[in-house]
């Protein structure tokens, strides 16, 4: 065997031995136990401290408030949404007190009007809605109520009702357009209310010769809209003029 090969062989074997030895020493203990990672990392991540205690923790001490909230419109809103992370408070209830936001700026984070919010979600214009008065003056944050308690159609069709309430059709009762049999309340899917089935129905108010207040937009019922029923293009619960 040529001299070069033996010499190089020695050098390479030495390097390989050093590599393997160093590697044995340096690979972390728990590496590869569960997968191609340090199993101990999972434990240290799992051991990180909590900031948000979770609503169950609050309920243990603040039972009356929790019960009130649990049957209110805020039943799905957990305590720490408004009061902030409270794990420290749970650990030391006497010394650490979570904040309770009372200023007007806070509630509009959810309830301020924003066009991108789902229609039907209760929203107000923070500037025009009872200026300067803290929200708590009229609404109990643990059991907030809208001005009208849902009932009748609204009890089930809340989203439509809220939407209609801010539309040009706000003052029209549902039964103006829908004929709902009483049995609909008992078996809503088998006995459905009807919808206007002719263009003339909307024409009662919107036709050019209709006897209705003059601010109501008018169309020529016989030619407008190429024979579609009105509600196939317009949404009567929130009609737009365009």
């Amino acid at each position: 065997m040529p001299q070069q090969v033996t010499r190089l062989g020695i050098a390479f074997v030495a390097l390989a031995v050093v590599f393997v030895a160093v590697r044995q020493k340096l690979v972390p203990d728990t590496f590869g136990e569960a997968g191609h990672y340090r199993a101990a990392a999972v434990d240290s991540i799992a051991a990180q401290p909590l900031q948000y205690a979770g609503h169950e923790a609050c309920t243990m001490c603040h039972r009356p408030i929790a019960e009130k909230r649990s049957v209110s419109n805020h039943s799905g809103v957990s305590c720490e949404v408004c009061h902030g992370p409270a794990a420290e408070h749970v650990a030391a209830p006497g010394s650490v007190k979570p904040p309770a936001p009372r200023e007007r700026g806070f509630c509009p984070l959810c309830h301020g009007y924003n066009a991108s919010r789902p229609s039907g979600f209760p929203q107000i214009d923070p500037v025009a809605h009872n200026p300067m008065v803290p929200c708590m003056t009229c609404h109990d944050p643990h059991a907030p109520e809208p001005p009208v308690i849902p009932g009748a159609c609204r009890a089930c069709h809340g989203q439509i009702a809220s939407q209609k309430a801010v539309s040009h059709h706000a003052t029209l009762p549902c039964l103006t357009c829908h004929d709902a049999p009483d049995e609909h309340k008992a078996s809503p899917r088998t006995l459905r209310p009807d919808k206007p089935s002719s263009r003339d129905f909307c024409g009662t108010c919107h036709a050019e010769d209709a006897i209705s207040p003059s601010h109501i937009p008018r169309v020529d019922v016989s030619t407008h809209g190429e024979g579609y029923l009105c509600w196939q293009c317009h949404y009567p619960h929130h009609p737009e003029a365009e």
């Binding site: 590496f31 191609h36 799905g76 992370p85 959810c110 066009a115």
Partner: protein, 266 residues
């Protein structure tokens, strides 16, 4: 919305996987046909299967997000920063909210000022709006996570229960995972000099609690649960909604599921 911890044998099919997946197979084939360089054979590489989610774990975590319920209040993004020690500045986030405004002329405007934490300014020219909605985003905890695939040292991984985590003591800070994530969910911690991301609040799950963003979502737009069990809010969510995931064409198999997702979202 408790995390179900009962050990039921009744699993949904998602939890069971074939023992050899395609990547495994390709690798074996490559190894057999080419012969692996000597360097590789010296290295003890544990079985690939350990990296796949599922297996014998008790849980397989996932999240459901209903776009129609999101009001864009940003409480989730704020809670995440509080819970997970995410610096306020610069504006890195584990979870954020995007606002989409699709105008009648077809133009799509998207914004997410400070991740949505401070709310959203009013839309300009509301009249020209065709559709508008909020979309909460976070790490999708992909079953075939590109970030885990590219990590050179095994510092990021999928736990048996399906969470994609980063080992901050082992991460070398190369940033390859940041490049590989199609969702922009990873960021580089300017203080710790390692990659960071959403953990599904793994430390909270370990204590039987839901992630902070789910805890504080006031409209239950976010749901958390276990894909391996039938009786939990997520399973119900998946039964009663048409479900979409983000960027399905990339085949990352996300475990964050969206209901009522618009086609413009990406």
């Amino acid at each position: 919305m408790m995390v179900d911890s009962s050990t039921s044998l009744d699993r949904e099919p998602t939890a069971t996987r074939e023992p050899v997946d395609r990547r495994d197979f390709l690798w074996e084939a490559l190894k057999a046909s080419l012969g692996v360089p000597i360097a590789l054979s010296v290295i003890r590489v544990p079985e690939l299967r350990g990296m796949q989610a599922g297996g014998d774990a008790e849980h397989l975590y996932g999240m459901g997000i209903d776009i129609r319920k999101c009001i864009g209040c940003g409480r989730c993004a704020q809670a995440c920063k509080n819970e997970n020690d995410v610096p306020d500045e610069p504006h890195f986030v584990n979870t954020w909210i995007e606002r989409y405004v699709i105008r009648t002329d077809g133009e799509v405007l998207v914004d997410s000022p400070n991740g949505g934490i401070d709310g959203f300014p009013p839309i300009e020219e509301e009249g020209g709006t065709l559709r508008t909605f909020f979309v909460p985003k976070l790490c999708n905890h992909c079953e075939d996570a590109p970030c885990v695939q590219v990590c050179p040292v095994g510092a990021t991984f999928i736990t048996d229960d399906g969470a994609v985590l980063v080992d901050e003591e082992y991460c070398i800070g190369c940033g390859y995972c940041v490049q590989a994530c199609p969702y922009g969910a990873r960021w580089f911690d300017p203080v710790k000099h390692v990659a960071r991301k959403c953990t599904f609040c793994y430390h909270r799950l370990a204590k039987g609690k839901v992630p902070a963003c789910v805890e504080v979502c006031p409209t239950s737009a976010r749901l958390f649960g276990d894909l391996g069990h039938r009786a939990n809010p997520l399973a119900r969510f998946l039964r009663f909604n048409e479900i979409q995931v983000l960027k399905p064409h990339l085949n990352t198999k996300p475990k964050v599921f969206y209901a009522n997702l618009d086609g413009e979202v990406r």
